[in-house]
Symmetry: C2
């Protein structure tokens, strides 16, 4: 919606927006649907589009809408339009042919323009600064939720228009939940403290995970950390070799395989359950995918994606290190957009900041 | 998902959760799908459910999943399942019959249990306190975005686990955008300042709008305010009369008609483009609906919904007053759960707080 029209809804707002924000791209114009709550916003954010007032009765006006752009066949994003709405549109205007399409916009979005990369990099810079500002405040005893809220505050008053997603802050055994939520649990001394967070700048997002050590790291935690760091370096090195070698780019599947092999070889393959990475831009997760079941075709370029291996020992500890990689084969560039140190960082000691 | 299983995703998280959180209710058990990122969370939040590991290949395991609960016909929420997924499931297991269903869960959710009303009331109390705490800080010159962020901070450190939705804070002519976003615009003196916001407590949400006056109100703004307040009172009085009269409850459509008539009679019908209210609970907007196209059948009971008439003069000003009403016909109760004053409130004057 935002990529093709300029009009954007807030996170979760599509649940209350009804048909507002749906759009139709014709040969000569873009039409954006809006009810009275959104007409002024659509005119402002999508000045090149025609506004079509649409309420709950979209089916009743479907034939009129399609006819107004001079079309009889409409490609419909079948991964986003519900079965019920599809059936209602089909029944309302049998003369309009609905053609299921998937992935058209996603393919375009995976290839990033310079202005898009700049915004992602700006979001990464906000995230880098925010975590650096939080470090001196981290002490055992305060709760995960308190640090998550504090980091969010730093991000949102530090140059971001919004979070990319809710801040994850997980201490010790909780870090074994790859998608856990910060709770009223006190941050433990002598354990890991995992932050997974992102900023949003002009619609574009960052995503970074750092696993810090609160007080003296245990030998086990350090061992897991070094393993995950080696896995991440293996993936980045492979990308650098491919770009500088000038041959075909690797597939998302093969990057995942290289990162995964390091962890499997160390006997922790079963504790790395998710994929190695994902594209990012207007959405936190978009194409390309870097995982076991990703496509075997070469990565797009220029593009931006995360590299984020992790090892999760249930009930014990968890480590993930996540950075965003900007890949531009034609320019020979492989660049980490997230700059916060990837070394072992110990916090919560007297006199220890970063 | 949360209502039937206990497992919940964060706002917007369904975009990255894949099939995790989808669920199947059989005669004897509830099955919740999860990939490795979510299995621990599902076991914790939905302890009575069986976890079924599901990744991108749901269609490939669909027959096995349905067979495991002993079913051959499955009612599928056709308003939430995409056309593409529906087709993939249908093709993967022709022997499993998919039956489109809509609104089953919504009807149950519209009727609130006491524990649900308690949580909504708790969220309303957090919202009331948060706005009261903000009042003395409001001065012309600071921006809408600053007050929105400050109110959010008060809500999230004042007893809420999250916002119900992004805080709207709109000054002067911006208040004419019923769904506008706070911007870097300075709050104006001698103009309205509209806050639309809600808190979330144990999954349940509040929703309240207050239109304040920064400095001396203009005669026009006061006139619009009194009109909207009269419209809201007309709707609440109608509900009280119906409940205390002991007859049939009014429909959502007839409550809307009563509130709307006040505004139409004053010549502002075209400037009240949205419905009068909506049910609320785990979602900000749920059944029942109170609008021109709402059903003509009596409201459910006990239930909770908003009453929020508004008048929007584009480019000039906007006023909306929104409260949550708890309606329990059997107990003879019509109660406003949001308690912040509905009178004209002037802020930003020397020595003027609430």
């Amino acid at each position: 919606m935002r990529y093709l029209t300029g009009f954007g809804l807030g996170t979760g707002e599509e649940r209350v927006a009804g048909h507002s924000g749906r759009f139709l791209v014709g040969a000569d114009e873009v039409v954006v649907l809006a009810d009275s709550r959104y007409t002024i916003q659509v005119r402002r954010e999508a000045p090149g589009a025609r506004v079509f007032e649409a309420y709950g009765d979209l089916a009743g006006r479907w034939e009129e809408l399609v006819g107004s752009v001079g079309a009889r066949r409409v490609g419909v994003e079948s991964g986003f339009v519900s079965r019920a709405l599809w059936d209602a549109l089909a029944a309302a205007a049998p003369s309009v042919e609905l053609v299921p399409v998937e992935g058209w916009v996603e393919v375009d979005r995976a290839v990033k323009e310079p202005s898009e990369v700049e915004r992602i990099a700006a979001a990464c810079a906000v995230a880098d600064r925010s975590l650096a500002a939080l470090l001196p405040e981290i002490r055992p005893g305060a709760t995960e939720a308190e640090f998550a809220l504090r980091l969010e505050w730093l991000i949102r008053t530090g140059g971001a228009e919004a979070l990319a997603f809710d801040v994850a802050c997980l201490s010790g055994p909780e870090a074994a939940l790859p998608h856990g939520s910060p709770g009223d649990r006190s941050v433990l001394a002598g354990a890991v403290l995992l932050f997974d967070f992102g900023a949003q700048v002009e619609g574009y997002r960052s995503d970074m995970t750092r696993t810090l050590f609160v007080g003296e790291p245990s030998a086990r935690d350090l061992e897991v950390y070094e393993l995950v760091a080696r896995s991440q370096r293996a993936a980045v090195t492979m990308l650098e070799d491919a770009v500088h070698g000038g041959g075909e780019l690797p597939s998302g599947r093969s990057v995942d395989a290289v990162a995964r092999a390091v962890i499997v070889d160390a006997g922790h393959g079963d504790q790395f359950g998710h994929g190695t990475g994902h594209g990012i831009g207007l959405a936190t997760h978009e194409a390309p995918s870097l995982g076991k079941s990703a496509v075997g075709t070469p990565l797009p370029s220029p593009t931006v994606f995360s590299v984020e291996p992790g090892v999760y020992l249930e009930g014990e500890t968890g480590v993930r290190i996540e950075d965003l990689v900007f890949l531009d084969a034609a320019a020979g560039r492989v660049e980490l957009l997230t700059r916060f140190p990837r070394d072992v960082v110990v916090v919560g000691h007297e006199g220890v900041g970063a």
